[in-house]
Each structure stands twice: as structure tokens, then as C-alpha cells.
């Protein structure tokens, strides 16, 4: 049995299972709600129930008092749904969120390309075009009981009729093995989406710094193509890292875009390129390339980070030491129930 949970002021609707807490449902859907103790004592996660019935669970009578229960408050960490719910939470309204509805799409694989020794590009022509914001992701439904896998859309929203996914083969990974070894052009396949809240904060009108590594290029690429198409005039910088030149896919495309658009700056960085290979660009990691490119001063930018956890971590530290802080840093990151339980300081919320 599951209910619909609508979270205001985001206006986003997600599923909540029987017995699942509001906090758990929200976090698993990638929506951060303020929380701390997670067992009904501290009241950090207090939210207003605007519509529907909740069961208050273990909420302490001091953290959630009778008059508050009467006024429709509940503690998200303890409350479970007895009907469809609308809650009002203390989350920042995001003027850039289009809150597009998640839908199922079916399509046909129209093209498969080997982008690097480990990454394949997969194009899917959809029966009906998908509306999404550059940076968002979809779930790809794979046959044979594999289930679905999440991939960021690498193509711009303007090309919603044929979407591109870049899939890195994960050693031992069932889903990526299917895409790499079995998937054929002409095969019917379904996706659902768009998901995620990782998109450019265009309304802030600040220069855009994108940092990408490994297979994290998809969202930044979609964002860049989208921004350039619509004539975004402020500086856009892509710091893009791979281990070696043969893994640096779409390098030529970005070189060409940089030549074409004076406000787009492209800084590729290779961390393990053999000596004497003829590579004349930056050697080192993404965060090191960024520090050099910005002379350790990131103030006035908004930064979008996409890549493996170690890269994200190093980039956040570099950005903060270059005076760019949490409110201007965005990462493609999901807060799982496991994250909510691990020992983590409450110093940062979103990064």
C-alpha cells in the first residue's frame, strides 16, 4: 500500500509506503528535509500537515506538543501516512525548479557509440518527447529482471525527442554490462523521468563553473549545450578531468565550442596521462586544475559538481578554500537512508 506525499513549497509529489516515515520517503526521493536526532526528540524535522492523516509514531510529547498535534504539526522522522498527504516543510523555494512531472516514456535505441574504452553513448528515440531540465536524470528500465538504473541525460532539453545517455561499464555491474554487451540498435526500451534537483540556477545570474570527472560529464554537458543554445552571456567554465587522453570523451566538441563562444572556457585535466604523450593541457586532478584556473578565488560563481565521491569531496574543499561556500555549491548527490544514519556532523546540509 502506498500513498502520495506532496511536499510544499516544492510542489513535488513522491510515493510514501505504508509504515515509511515522511523523512525517509523524502530523503530517498532526494529531497532534503531538516532533521537531526531521527527518533522524535529534537523537533528539528517538524513539518505542517496541510492535508491528510498521519500517525505520530514515537514523537516525544515535549518535542511535539498536544496543541501542535491539534494544529496539524508532525515530526517527519516519526510520522507515517494514513492517507495521501500534503506537507509544508522548511525548505527553500527554488525559483529555478520547473517541478516537471515524472512520466514513463518508451522508445527505440537509435544509435550506440563507443566514446572511450569504458564508456558507451546510447541514443534513444522516444515516442513522445521528454521535458526535462538540463542536469536531471532518468531511470532506464532494463529487461531480464535487472531492474532500472539511473543515468543523467547528456543531451540538451531541446533534443527531447532523442535522448543521449553515457554509460560507463562498472566492473561486475549487471546493468552496465547489459548496456555494453547486449543492448542493440533497434531494441525497444523504456525510461522514466525526469528526476533530480541538479540544474543551473539561471535566476541567480552568476557565472557558471562546472566541474566534472569520470562518467560525471553528462549533466554538465547538457547544461552547457542548453546555456549556449539560449544565449547565456555570463562566463561558463568547464573543468573536466579524466585519467588519460583516450578517456577524455567529447574533448574535440568542447574545444570547438570554446572557439565558437567567447564566454565558454574549457579546461581539461588528465591525472594519469603518460609522460611524453604530447598532451599539452593540465596534468593533475580536477580540483587542482580549478584552483590554478581561478587563481584560488572562486567568489561570485556558482559551482556544479558531478563525478566520483572523492573528486566531489576534493572539489568542495578547494572551492571553500577559494572562498566559495555551501550556498553556491551544487552536487549531484542523493541522500540515502544509510547517509541519514551514518555519523555525520550537521555543519553542512546540502554538500
Amino acid at each position: 500500500m502506498s500513498y502520495e506525499l506532496t511536499i510544499q513549497p516544492l510542489g513535488q509529489t513522491i510515493a510514501i509506503e505504508d509504515g515509511q516515515t515522511i523523512l525517509d520517503a523524502a530523503l530517498r526521493a532526494g529531497i532534503y528535509l531538516p532533521h537531526a536526532c531521527c527518533h522524535g526528540l529534537c523537533a528539528t524535522c517538524k513539518v505542517q500537515v496541510a492535508d491528510g492523516e498521519v500517525e505520530h509514531g514515537e514523537a516525544s510529547s515535549f518535542a511535539l506538543m498536544d496543541f501542535e498535534r491539534d494544529a496539524g504539526k508532525c515530526l517527519a522522522c516519526c510520522a507515517t501516512a494514513h492517507s495521501d498527504l500534503v506537507i509544508e516543510a522548511e525548505i527553500d523555494e527554488d525559483p529555478d525548479a520547473e517541478n516537471l512531472p515524472v512520466q514513463d516514456f518508451s522508445g527505440v535505441v537509435s544509435r550506440i557509440e563507443t566514446l572511450t574504452p569504458t564508456i558507451k553513448g546510447v541514443w534513444i528515440r522516444l515516442e513522445a518527447p521528454i521535458r526535462f531540465q538540463a542536469g536531471q536524470y532518468v531511470n532506464l528500465n532494463l529487461p531480464g529482471g535487472i531492474g532500472s538504473r539511473a543515468f543523467s541525460l547528456a543531451s540538451p532539453p531541446s533534443a527531447g525527442g532523442e535522448v543521449e545517455l553515457n554509460v560507463r561499464s562498472v566492473p561486475g555491474g549487471q546493468g552496465t554490462a547489459y548496456v555494453h554487451d547486449t543492448l542493440q540498435v533497434g531494441e525497444r526500451i523504456g525510461i522514466s523521468g525526469p528526476y533530480g534537483r541538479f540544474f543551473v540556477k539561471k535566476s541567480a545570474r552568476t557565472p557558471v563553473l562546472l566541474m566534472a570527472g569520470g562518467s560525471g560529464l553528462s549533466s554538465p554537458r547538457s547544461m552547457i549545450l542548453d546555456l549556449l543554445e539560449e544565449g547565456f552571456a555570463l562566463p561558463i567554465t568547464l573543468i573536466y578531468g579524466q585519467r588519460s587522453r583516450d578517456e577524455l570523451y567529447y574533448h574535440d566538441e568542447f574545444v570547438a565550442l570554446a572557439a565558437q563562444h567567447p564566454n565558454f572556457r574549457y579546461v581539461p585535466a588528465l591525472s594519469h596521462e603518460p609522460e611524453g604523450s604530447g598532451w599539452t593541457g593540465f596534468r593533475g586532478f580536477v580540483h587542482e586544475a580549478a584552483k590554478a584556473a581561478f587563481d584560488n578565488d572562486f567568489r561570485g560563481n556558482k559551482a556544479y559538481l558531478c563525478g566520483p565521491p572523492l573528486m566531489i569531496d576534493a572539489c568542495i574543499t578547494t572551492l571553500m578554500q577559494g572562498r566559495l561556500f555551501e550556498r553556491d555549491i551544487y552536487t549531484e548527490k542523493f541522500i540515502s537512508a544509510a547517509d541519514a544514519q551514518q555519523v555525520k556532523s550537521p555543519l553542512f546540509k546540502a554538500i
Partner: protein
């Protein structure tokens, strides 16, 4: 298909902003820095007060409503506890020693925090900050009052509760906490926020309140447990305020980083010394123990503190300077402190005792590397003296640390057989310290600490003039009732007699 359109209304954040930020105004007939003169002299540079994110998001009208309801609930339970002779549900009256120390040393700290927040709320320019500090000021006075009320019922039956305010001001073992708060209250507004909002409320509060409130629950003290629940719903806000303040300072200007680091070093170590009291309560004074001090440190210090300093490292902040020395002291401090309290027990307004065989077996299991080697032999010796009718009393005066004001009973970080002692000569006077941490704090601000009131020198001043009886009068300690060994005390006799009446037909 289009998305569901819902009625547009103000978000909670926006509503909060309208109810607080818009309360602010710009001064007209005096320049702002004349109205708010204290924010500059500590060297903290703030460029944009509007970057302060309000962690509370609570408006005054709802704040009053919440707190009033909490009071009603709290006092209903306290009354029931008093009417039903709740004190006889305690595991054992030894537990009361922990309670007495808390009332004499920590509850007045809540009151001091109240005064401090009221003051800094006036001194900070940002409206968000002012509102947050104002609410915390009211929280803190409420905590002080409710703690005192929760414990007042014990004062009707047991000794040592009647003069906590005098003992906060005058007795020796409470001055570690008193000087911590006095130091914070006489610092600038930003340092106060690091001292109380960050070090005390965030880094130390879990080590102080969680073991203490769990200790109350384990030992049948429902009055204190109720206080704990009532306060915990405020603590989350307090911690958030402390963290917000430190982020704000670190993000506003790179020049703030070394200043904040210095305060973190200082206030971690000052707080750690206050925790000496807590370690002893946890390991020795709870008849039914919750966890050892070492176990509490591993969870709240090493794990939670470690996670925090890992995040703060992004700002260029390093773990507090005394962190390693603290870790080295964990397995020793409660034993060293309890030995100190026992040998000076004629001068404590609570009882101490020689641990039983069962207590020592527990201590040995919890401290396998230190208890049997260093502390069991001393307790055995003390026990032998007590059995021979010559109990061990130290009538000498302890050498006090000029910074934390504790007797210098702690050992060298790397040698538990050698008492740690440091000295600084300043303007021809010699000052003593219990540790490198306390000496560094003094050396950094000697003019502040040479003015410190210390309980031992007071003994030779008016009105005491070196007379122990006069001293007892002056600190409101009743000899033979409040002090000494638990064994044979009035508290022990009364508790056993009353409990006997309540649970048997005699």
C-alpha cells in the same frame, strides 16, 4: 499532462523573514557603530550581516506558546513526582552526589549562559542574530529554573542541596565550571558564541547532558529525566545556532579563520576540564551506570567530534590543539578526580566513597589498561586505612590551576605516574597550571587570568583568615551533614529508613 497546480502561498522561510528581519531598523540620530560598539574589537570582520542564515525560524509568538506548554507539562510531572515520594524510587542515595554536583556546578552555568546571550543579543548588529540570541537567553533561564525546581524536592529530604548558589560562587570544585562561564561572559560577543554556542552547546553538550540524563533515567530520577526531555527540544536549536555562527564567521572573511581557530583551541580545552566533573559522576557516582566515561568519549567525542572537525577542515580549521592530550587523559581523569574528591571530602557539599569490590570490578573491565595498574592499588590502600579507623584525609591545600581552577591532580599526558605541573612567571608573580592547554590559554591573555578569583587564596582572606570552620560557614557547608563519606551519612541512613518504610511492613 501538466503538473498539478497548487495554491501559491508564502513558504515558512519567507513568512519567518517577514516576521523577524523586517523588525530591524537603521539608526538615525546616532551612528550604528556607536550603538553597537562591541562587534569590532575582537578583530572579526563581517561584510554582510544578511548572509546570516537564521537557524531558528521561530517567531516570538509561537516561541511563547511552545515554552508555556512545555512548562505546564513539566510541572505536572514534577508535582506528581513530589507527591508520590518519587525520591524513594532512586536506585540508591549515592546517586544524589551526582545530582548535587550538577546543581552546584552546572545549573548556575545555564543561568550564566542566559545572561551572556541576553548581552550578545544586544551587541550583535544582525536582526537574525539578535532574535536567535534573545530566544536562547530565555531558554537558558528557563533551563536554570526548571533544573532547580526539578531538584528542589530532594532538598526537603537530603543534605547538600540547600546552598547551591553559595557553593557555585565559593566552593572549590565548582569553580572549574564557574570560571568557564565567567571567562565566556567577560569575552567579546563572537568569542562568547564560540565558547557557549559552539564549544559548550555543540562539542560538549552531548558529553554532559546525554550521560547525565541517561544516568537519571537508569537511577530512577524521573524529575531530572523530565527536565532532560523538556530541554532537549531546545538544545537542537542551540546547537544549530552555534554552528551557524561559526560558519558565518569563517565564510565572511579569511582573516577570521586564525582568530576562530584560537578560540576553538581555547574553549575545547576549557570545556574538557569541566568534563572532569562529568567523568567522575559517570564512572563513580551512578549506582546504576549507563556507560563508562571512555565509552561516552568514543561516541560523542571521537565519532561526532571527529565528523565535525572533518567538515570544518574545509574552512582550514584544524582539530583543537589539546585534542591529543585529551585523548591521552580519558582513561585516567575520572579516577584521578575521584581520588581528589575523596581525600578532600571534608570540603565537599556531597558525599564520596570508596568504591566497592563490585564497583572496582566494573572499573577494571571498563579501563583494562589503567585501573588495575594505577588506581586499584590506591583505593585498596585507602580502604585499608579506613578499616583501621584512620581514614585518609588530606588537610593540605591543593595547588590550583590559574586557568581552569581545578587542583592540579592530573598527570602528564605521556606518564600517568607523574603529576602534570606547569608554571609561568608574569610580572614577577608565579602562576601554576594543570596542563599545557591551560598554560597556553593563560599565556595568550595573562592580563585576564591574573584577575581570576581562586578558591584557595580566598581561604586566607577576610572573613575566613585560614579557619576551616569559618570557611565552612562561608560556603554554607554544614559539617557532618553535607560532607564526608557516604557510609554512615544522614543521607544514607534516611534513604534506607524511608525506603524500608515504603517497601516493608516494619
Amino acid at each position: 499532462m501538466d503538473m498539478k497546480v497548487s495554491k501559491k502561498k508564502l513558504g515558512l522561510k519567507e513568512r519567518y523573514r517577514l516576521m523577524t528581519r523586517d523588525l530591524g531598523w537603521d539608526t538615525t540620530y546616532q551612528p550604528k557603530d556607536k550603538v553597537l560598539p562591541y562587534v569590532g574589537y575582537e578583530g572579526i570582520k563581517i561584510h554582510d550581516w544578511d548572509k546570516w542564515e537564521d537557524p531558528f525560524r521561530l517567531t516570538m509568538d509561537s516561541y511563547w506558546k511552545y515554552q508555556a506548554e512545555k512548562e505546564r507539562k513539566f510541572y505536572a510531572i514534577i508535582d506528581a513526582h513530589a507527591q508520590n515520594n518519587g525520591h524513594l524510587n532512586l536506585t540508591d542515595a549515592r546517586y544524589l552526589s551526582a545530582l548535587k554536583i550538577f546543581l552546584q556546578a552546572i545549573s548556575p552555568g545555564e543561568y550564566a549562559a542566559h545572561k551572556g546571550f541576553a548581552r550578545v543579543g544586544r551587541e550583535f548588529p544582525g536582526v537574525g542574530t539578535q532574535v536567535a540570541c534573545q530566544m536562547q537567553a530565555i531558554d537558558e533561564i528557563r533551563h536554570a529554573q526548571t533544573q532547580i525546581h526539578a531538584m528542589s524536592n530532594y532538598n526537603r529530604y537530603y543534605n547538600g542541596f540547600h546552598a547551591f548558589a553559595d557553593q557555585r560562587d565559593r566552593i572549590w570544585y565548582t569553580s572549574v565550571a564557574r570560571s568557564f562561564f565567567d571567562d565566556a561572559m567577560s569575552a567579546g560577543p563572537f568569542e562568547f558564541m564560540i565558547a557557549i554556542g559552539f564549544s559548550f552547546e555543540y562539542v560538549l553538550t552531548n558529553l554532559l547532558f546525554v550521560p547525565f540524563m541517561s544516568g537519571a533515567a537508569y537511577n530512577g530520577d524521573m524529575a531530572t529525566v523530565t527536565f532532560g526531555f523538556s530541554a532537549q527540544s531546545d538544545e537542537a536549536r542551540h546547537m544549530t545556532l552555534g554552528l551557524e555562527c561559526i560558519k558565518f564567521m569563517l565564510e565572511q572573511d579569511p582573516a577570521n579563520v586564525p582568530i576562530v581557530q584560537g578560540w576553538i583551541d581555547k574553549w575545547f580545552w576549557r570545556g574538557f576540564r569541566v568534563l572532569g566533573l562529568v567523568s567522575t559522576m559517570m564512572d563513580y557516582m551512578l549506582p546504576k551506570r549507563v556507560m563508562s566515561w571512555r565509552e561516552a568519549w568514543n561516541i560523542y567525542g571521537v565519532e561526532n567530534g571527529g565528523a565535525l572537525f572533518k567538515d570544518l577542515a574545509r574552512y582550514g580549521i584544524t582539530p583543537p590543539k589539546g585534542w591529543d592530550d585529551a585523548e591521552k587523559g580519558i582513561d585516567h581523569m575520572s579516577h584521578q578526580f575521584m581520588l581528589g574528591l575523596y581525600q578532600w571530602s571534608f570540603g565537599t557539599a556531597f558525599h564520596s566513597w570508596i568504591p566497592s569490590d563490585e564497583d572496582m570490578a566494573w572499573l577494571s573491565a571498563k579501563y583494562p589498561d589503567t585501573f588495575d595498574k594505577h588506581y586499584r592499588p590506591r583505593w585498596n590502600h585507602i580502604r585499608k586505612l579506613a578499616a583501621a579507623g584512620t581514614p585518609f584525609k588530606n588537610y593540605g591545600l591543593a595547588k590550583l590551576c590559574q586557568t581552569c581552577q581545578l587542583p592540579t591532580v592530573f598527570t602528564e599526558p605521556d606518564d600517568p605516574t607523574l603529576t602534570c605541573h606547569r608554571e609561568t612567571t608574569y610580572k614577577g608573580e608565579k602562576y601554576h597550571f594543570c596542563s599545557d592547554g591551560c598554560q597556553h590559554i593563560f599565556d595568550n591573555e595573562p592580563e585576564k587570568y591574573i584577575q581570576a578569583w581562586l578558591p584557595m587564596p580566598q581561604l586566607f582572606q577576610d572573613p575566613i583568615k585560614g579557619d576551616l570552620g569559618e570557611w565552612m560557614k562561608w560556603v554554607s557547608l554544614i559539617d557532618g551533614k553535607d560532607n564526608g563519606d557516604y557510609a554512615g551519612s544522614e543521607d544514607q541512613q534516611h534513604f534506607e529508613a524511608w525506603r524500608g518504610l515504603a517497601t516493608t511492613n516494619q
